[in-house]
């Protein structure tokens, strides 16, 4: 019990740190300061929002009879706000194209490796 509490505190501290650095960026951009309390409040909100997101995502994945949360589930959580949805759509397409590139590269590498395997005494690492 005590261990999980400590874990939670660590997580919260990490969130707080990230929120603080994000707020710093925003403050620099808009030339307005955030009070410490504001940052703490945003961090706490983000933490609890994560709780809600996690539960929603889990429910969505289970609903589609999957055990793994996918991009579809994430998009479904943002369906209500059009701007956010469009942003996520764009990001997911970027990610997909990046993944495709990586896959293509890997395929090429695999092809090379295969041609190498023909030669004896060649040790390589599997990925």
């Amino acid at each position: 019990m005590d261990d999980s509490e400590a874990q939670k505190q660590r997580l919260k501290a990490a969130v707080h740190f990230s929120v603080a650095s994000l707020c710093e960026n925003i403050a620099a951009d808009s030339e307005k300061q955030f009070t410490k309390q504001t940052i703490a409040a945003i961090a706490e909100t983000a933490f609890r929002q994560c709780d809600i997101f996690a539960k929603d995502l889990e429910a969505f994945a289970r609903h589609a009879k999957r055990h793994t949360v996918t991009m579809d589930d994430v998009k479904l959580t943002a369906r209500r706000s059009t701007a956010l949805y469009n942003y996520m759509q764009q990001k997911s397409e970027e990610l997909a194209s990046n993944n495709q590139e990586l896959k293509d590269k890997r395929k090429k590498n695999a092809a090379k490796r295969k041609s190498k395997e023909m030669e004896p005494d060649e040790n390589e690492v599997e990925d």
């Binding site: 929603d56 429910a59 969505f60 609903h63 589609a64 009879k65 579809d72 589930d73 479904l76 369906r79």
Partner: protein
């Protein structure tokens, strides 16, 4: 749909007002009805929209009970502490309860088959 376009009521006025008065527990002026009607219309439109999205998410074309359960979970009615059956028992009359909760009608069966 045709009815809604002509500006008619989503649900009968007497029905809506009796439910509203039951939950409000104070006197309710009758001129709030148009507002409630508008809200209900929006609510149902949104409901249909969400249910459609959830059904397509599960690669179905038919909206099923689980879609609605998911919706109520997202709306915060169903939580880990209050499962659907508790809500059904609390808010629905006996004949609907019988329809929805298999335990109520299964007789002596220990594990009733789910009606889905």
């Amino acid at each position: 749909r045709m009815k809604r376009q002509t500006g008619n009521n989503v649900l009968p006025k007497s029905y809506v007002m009796s439910i509203f008065k039951h939950f409000a527990k104070t006197k309710v002026a009758s001129d709030v009805y148009p507002v409630i009607n508008e809200i209900l219309e929006k609510y149902f439109n949104r409901l249909a929209d969400d249910l459609e999205a959830y059904a397509t998410h599960a690669k179905r074309k038919t909206i099923e009970v689980e879609d609605f359960e998911l919706l109520m979970r997202r709306q915060g009615f169903v939580t880990d502490r209050t499962p659907v059956n508790v809500l059904i028992e609390k808010y629905l009359p006996l004949e609907y309860r019988k329809l929805l909760i298999p335990v109520a009608t299964s007789g002596n069966k220990v594990i009733p088959t789910q009606r889905r």
